[in-house]
């Protein structure tokens, strides 16, 4: 109590009771505050994880030098957004889905494009959407439904596609016109 008086605090019995209550409450609250803060950072950490790879970032330089502004690529959502943000090219997926008519059909077609083993079918889809190139990173891709592995074998069919770029981490294929 003397210590409190020294710093100018005079506590009556009621005030002392209130001070004890406050200290206990503060300890309880600070205990939960500590864990809430840690949990907050933990939850947010998952949302800042990189999806695109370093090789993809590096490959955007090739895209800048070997394609034109607004050129449309076959991409997953994250690949499309990387290309539009870094290079001002467009992906057939990625961006503000709310404003696009028949957007679910477009997602479904993109999903099929990456999943199918049928090169002809993939080529037809690419032409239907006027795509000129395919962005195929070495990671799983997401087209709005589930994460999936790219069926890459179809792109080696030179009737429909030709390889334009390969860094080991990402390949870019050209879509052949008929």
């Amino acid at each position: 109590m003397k210590g409190l008086k020294k710093i100018g605090l005079k506590l009556s019995g009621l005030a002392l009771g209130r001070a004890v209550f406050f200290i206990l409450a503060a300890l309880l609250v600070s205990y939960y505050a500590y864990f809430n803060y840690a949990d907050s950072i933990n939850q947010a950490s998952a949302w800042v994880n990189p999806i695109v790879t370093k090789e993809e970032l590096e490959a955007t330089k090739w895209v800048l030098n070997n394609s034109v502004e607004r050129e449309v690529f076959a991409t997953c959502i994250f690949g499309g957004e990387l290309l539009m943000g870094r290079t001002l090219r467009e992906g057939w997926l990625g961006g503000d889905w709310a404003i696009i008519p028949n957007v679910v059909k477009q997602m479904s077609d993109a999903d099929e494009f990456f999943k199918t083993k049928d090169a002809k079918k993939a080529h037809e889809l690419a032409l239907a959407y006027n795509l000129s190139k395919v962005w195929a990173p070495n990671r799983q891709v997401f087209c709005g439904f589930s994460w999936l592995n790219i069926e890459r074998e179809k792109f080696s069919n030179s009737t429909y596609f030709d390889k334009l770029y390969d860094s080991g981490g990402v390949q870019v294929y050209g879509v052949k016109r008929k």
Partner: protein, 419 residues
């Protein structure tokens, strides 16, 4: 979590204690500790060697980069999904990044990350001002801490997104409304509406509910239909928010059909129960927020009922609400815990003296109710973005948590008196 965070939390609580017993200006030291905590958690934006990509961050970068490189904002053709539609996303956040990038000659991605850090500093300041305006400095400090503790708020403010800017500007918009500054309020409302659509929806709804709440309160008290002149300003803000967004949409798209957007058509979003809300908000802010809500409701009820009846109504209502939550989400531990705490909080608070002005209690109550309505919009069949609105519900929860802390610290609260 390391020593720095523990030290900052210790500084916060020590400052709060000194603000209570010595000098209320110590609350500003507590605010500084919260700002440091906010900056610390938002440093996540520098975790990788490029800005976060998750959550469609790069769609905004595309328009920003286009603006910087080509000197104009691309309205006729969005970059999304192969450029099939006009660029109808509201433009202020993107323009702010692009203009800053041009002025400083710094890449838009780096400016975007710097903006996140700016938002980290402004977020607690906004809630401190709002809590102080409504209640006292201690309430402001705890409101600031509460918003910084909330995972969902961090998730949306740590990524370079218009959501982040909208969430940060909202408390300033509310502050101006409470200050009754007509044109600054309307200007800020228009800015928020053109920063982010969901923020616009929340601000419009909150302003409308506050306006209606003021009139409802007056009608209940005076037992006749009245129009309080204080209700006009928030109503103008509602109209400004709705008008600004609709006019922008019309200017770009050529129609007012916002319900034709895919988000409405496909009902984007998931239902949000209490367990999800607690997970995304944190137990401490939820509990404090519920205590604050109960206190606020009690103070508001006393405008129309005598004190004893108000307590009875509140306790009965709380018990029914707790029972309903337990029944609805019986299998979930957090739901049972949350409901039990809500009932306990309401019971405890009903023995405490509190007297807020009608305006302040109506603001806190009806903004909270508007936010709950947004989160539970599935109940009325809208079914859009229910879980996405949790982050907006967190704003009134933070303010009410501040009230609860001030109440616990002071034992009773008399702010502003009845009007």
């Amino acid at each position: 979590m390391g020593e720095t965070e523990v030290f900052l939390l210790a500084v916060f609580f020590a400052s709060l204690a000194l603000a209570l017993v010595k000098d209320k200006r110590f609350a500003y030291l507590a605010l500084l500790a919260v700002i440091a905590l906010s900056a610390n958690s938002h440093m996540l934006v520098y975790k990788n060697n490029h800005m976060p990509t998750f959550g469609n961050t790069f769609i905004h970068v595309a328009t920003e980069r286009h603006f910087v490189q080509n000197g104009f904002y691309p309205l006729d053709r969005d970059y999304s999904y192969a450029g099939l539609a006009p660029n109808s996303y509201v433009p202020f956040y993107r323009s702010a990044i692009a203009v800053t990038s041009s002025l400083l000659s710094v890449d838009v991605e780096e400016v975007s990350r710097a903006f996140v850090m700016l938002f980290a500093l402004l977020l607690p300041i906004g809630f401190f001002l709002l809590g102080r305006k409504l209640f006292v400095e201690i309430a402001g400090a705890v409101a600031a801490l509460s918003i910084v503790l909330m995972p969902e708020t961090l998730i949306y403010t740590v990524r370079p997104l218009p959501q982040a800017m909208g969430l940060v500007l909202l408390p300033f918009a509310f502050y101006l409304i409470l200050e009754k500054k007509l044109w600054p309020s309307i200007l800020m409302t228009v800015i928020v509406s053109l920063v982010h659509q969901e923020a616009a929806v929340f601000l419009a709804g909150a302003a409308l509910f506050y306006s209606l709440g003021l009139n409802l309160s007056a009608m209940l008290r005076e037992r006749k239909i009245v129009l309080r002149k204080e209700s006009l300003l928030p109503f103008y803000c509602f109209a400004a928010a709705a008008g600004a967004y609709l006019l922008w949409h019309y200017a770009v798209v050529g129609n007012f059909n916002i319900f034709g957007l895919a988000q409405f058509k496909y009902h984007e979003g998931a239902k949000a129960g209490l367990e999800l809300i607690i997970t995304k908000t944190g137990l401490l802010p939820v509990v404090l927020g519920l205590i604050g809500f109960a206190a606020c409701a009690f103070s508001w009820l006393k405008n129309f009922l005598d004190e004893k009846t108000s307590r009875i109504v509140l306790v009965v209502f709380s018990a029914l609400a707790a029972y309903a939550v337990i029944v609805i989400e019986a299998v979930k531990f957090d739901a049972v815990l949350g409901a039990a705490l809500a009932a306990l909080a309401a019971l405890a608070i009903s023995f405490v003296r509190i007297e807020l002005s009608l305006e302040k209690s109506a603001f806190a109550l009806f903004v909270f109710i508007a936010a709950v309505g947004a989160v539970k919009n599935d109940v009325v069949g809208v079914n859009v973005f229910m879980d996405r609105f949790i982050v907006y519900l967190q704003q009134p929860i933070a303010v009410l948590a501040g009230l609860a802390a001030a109440l616990a610290a002071r034992g009773k609260i008399v702010f502003g008196g009845r009007k």
